[in-house]
């Protein structure tokens, strides 16, 4: 039997996998680093590393930035330098001890040591200035937006160096939501101008420094951005929702990029979830997408679910499909 890592490689290269990859099983996620982004506790609020107030109200599935006049960081994009300050990524060696120990304990023949970065360049722009203002600014103040993006890229490269120097990761799991369920937030042309160079630089740096795999999370529609994803060097697009018509994407791009998802979290991960609903959706995804260039999994990012038991049940249903299809 192939190891989890070997099996994933077979899926990605169009070779001979011996089973479906079960969601994140091939990735040993390094989440306890001193530079992992901070999030508020459920029901709480924090001011994050960039000065953005982030709240996680009880009953919500995630945290949200606060953009009322009192809390918004960038009020005038032309004066962004006055208010946006890059957080330091320098931390004591002691603070890296837990993550280093975890990385060293991973059998790299079995799994990729995988570092995690969030929220991402696009999301950071609207964390700092609100979604509407950011989206209008791409038209109204493009130079300022380019400068802001370059600044955030500079930060991400510093972050990357710390991860690489301390953990020697094999893979990067990078979050940045680029669309709604039905379309990308910005046009492919605008995306190509503002974000393709940024990510090419970041992902290129990781790959030049030993990272083999770039997994990009965007639980959205983003089929129109796949050409840019290829240009950036993304190996796996995680979070690909059914609205993207994943089987068609696989036909068109399989061999150049692997798709991870096709099971929308909103359909399987809710308070009244059942094994039957999960089973139906896993079966459909596996049968329609096939064994190559595809990893079945919930669209939500990371190896967790919003409601207890869903992630594990999804894994079990993927095992069931392996027993039928392999």
């Amino acid at each position: 039997m192939l190891t989890k890592r070997q099996n994933l490689v077979e899926v990605m290269k169009g070779g001979n996998p011996d089973r479906f990859v079960k969601q994140y099983e091939a990735f040993a996620m390094m989440m306890k680093t001193p530079i992992t982004r901070i999030k508020p506790p459920i029901g709480g609020e924090i001011v994050n590393e960039w000065g953005v107030t982030v709240r996680w109200p009880k009953g919500q599935l995630g945290a949200f930035p606060v953009h009322d006049p009192e809390h918004i960081v960038i009020k005038d994009i032309t004066k962004w330098r006055d208010v946006v300050k890059m957080p330091s990524v320098e931390c004591s060696e002691e603070s890296w001890a837990i993550a280093i120990k975890e990385a060293e304990a991973v059998d790299r023949n079995d799994q990729y040591v995988t570092v995690f970065v969030a929220p991402g360049i696009f999301e950071m722009t609207h964390y700092l200035m609100s979604m509407e203002e950011a989206l209008m600014a791409y038209y109204e103040e493009p130079e300022a937006m380019h400068e802001l993006i370059d600044y955030i890229v500079e930060f991400e490269l510093k972050l990357a160096k710390e991860f690489i120097d301390h953990l020697h990761p094999d893979a990067l799991f990078h979050h940045d939501d680029w669309g709604s369920q039905i379309n990308s937030f910005i046009s492919p042309e605008m995306f190509k101008e503002f974000f393709e160079p940024a990510y090419k630089k970041i992902y290129g740096y990781y790959k030049d420094n030993g990272v083999e795999l770039i997994i990009h999370h965007s639980d959205s529609y983003a089929a129109n951005l796949v050409p840019s994803m290829l240009e950036m060097g993304i190996d796996i697009w995680q979070g690909v929702m059914t609205t993207n018509k994943v089987p068609e994407l696989i036909k068109q791009y399989g061999g150049k990029i692997t798709f991870m998802g096709d099971i929308d979290s909103g359909v399987i991960d809710f308070p009244g979830w059942t094994r039957e609903i999960i089973g139906e959706n896993v079966e459909r995804a596996c049968k329609e997408c096939g064994k190559l260039y595809f990893i079945p999994g919930a669209s939500q990012g990371l190896n967790v679910s919003s409601f207890p038991g869903v992630y594990e049940a999804t894994d079990e249903e993927i095992d069931r499909m392996t027993s039928f299809m392999f």
Binding site: P57, G59, Q60, L61, F64, M131, E132, L135, M136, Y138, Y139, E140, S180, Q181, I182, N183, S184, F185, I186, S187, M190, G266, V267, F270, P271, S306
Partner: protein, 210 residues
């Protein structure tokens, strides 16, 4: 090209710095403020259709709406009547338990552009707050409930049920959002469903005029 056609064209492509001047020129040319306003409303209708087709994206819709609002600022002092819109008031909010607002904000922009006065209740709106808002505002013609999460669909059901059970009359309820379907809208007793911002404005206008 007439000045009104120029106004229409520039609103459609979001030239908010040019539109105020062009609106003034259209006024100086002898066009009534109401005609110019209607022209801008039509532009936003085109924008809504293009957005629904996927020909344009959120930034293009936002800058078009901003261009129109800049044009309306020039017209407002000149528009006849008591300042309230011909179409009435629309109350909009994202239902309880849901903090997503970008879709709701786009719908609000488009419905306002169509000629409504907007009362935006924000996000995470309890059912009773929709009812309170109907009572507190005059000439309410549309109540729009938005939701992005499958897990907050029960809250949308409750919002519509509470609004309908209130006994208040004279308005219609539209629902929308990513997990909302026409079948779900009908099941929960909403008067209409809209898949996104463009059709929402069209439907709101239809319901207000009917």
């Amino acid at each position: 090209m007439s000045k009104i056609d120029e106004v229409k064209a520039k609103v459609e492509i979001g030239k908010s710095k040019l539109v105020p001047g062009l609106v003034q020129e259209a006024i100086d040319e002898g066009n009534s403020p109401e005609e110019i306003l209607q022209a801008m409303v039509e532009s936003m209708g085109v924008v809504g259709e293009k957005f629904s087709r996927g020909d344009i994206f959120v930034p293009e819709m936002l800058i078009a709406a901003k261009a129109m609002s800049k044009g309306v600022e020039v017209l407002k002092p000149l528009l006849a009547g008591d300042g309230s819109s011909k179409l009435g008031t629309c109350i909009i909010g994202t239902v309880e338990g849901d903090l997503h607002d970008i879709g709701k904000n786009l719908v609000s922009l488009m419905i306002e552009s169509a000629g409504f006065d907007m009362v935006d209740l924000g996000v995470d709106v309890p059912a009773e707050k929709f009812v309170e808002a109907i009572k507190e505002n005059s000439n309410v013609k549309i109540v729009a409930c938005s939701g992005l999460l499958t897990s907050t669909m029960p809250a949308m059901r409750e919002a519509v049920a509470t609004i309908k059970a209130s006994g208040l009359k004279g308005f219609k309820v539209i629902v929308g959002g990513a997990p909302v379907t026409p079948e779900f809208a009908a099941e929960i007793g909403a008067d209409a469903f809209a898949p996104d911002a463009g059709p929402a404005a069209v439907k709101a206008k239809e319901l207000a005029i009917a």
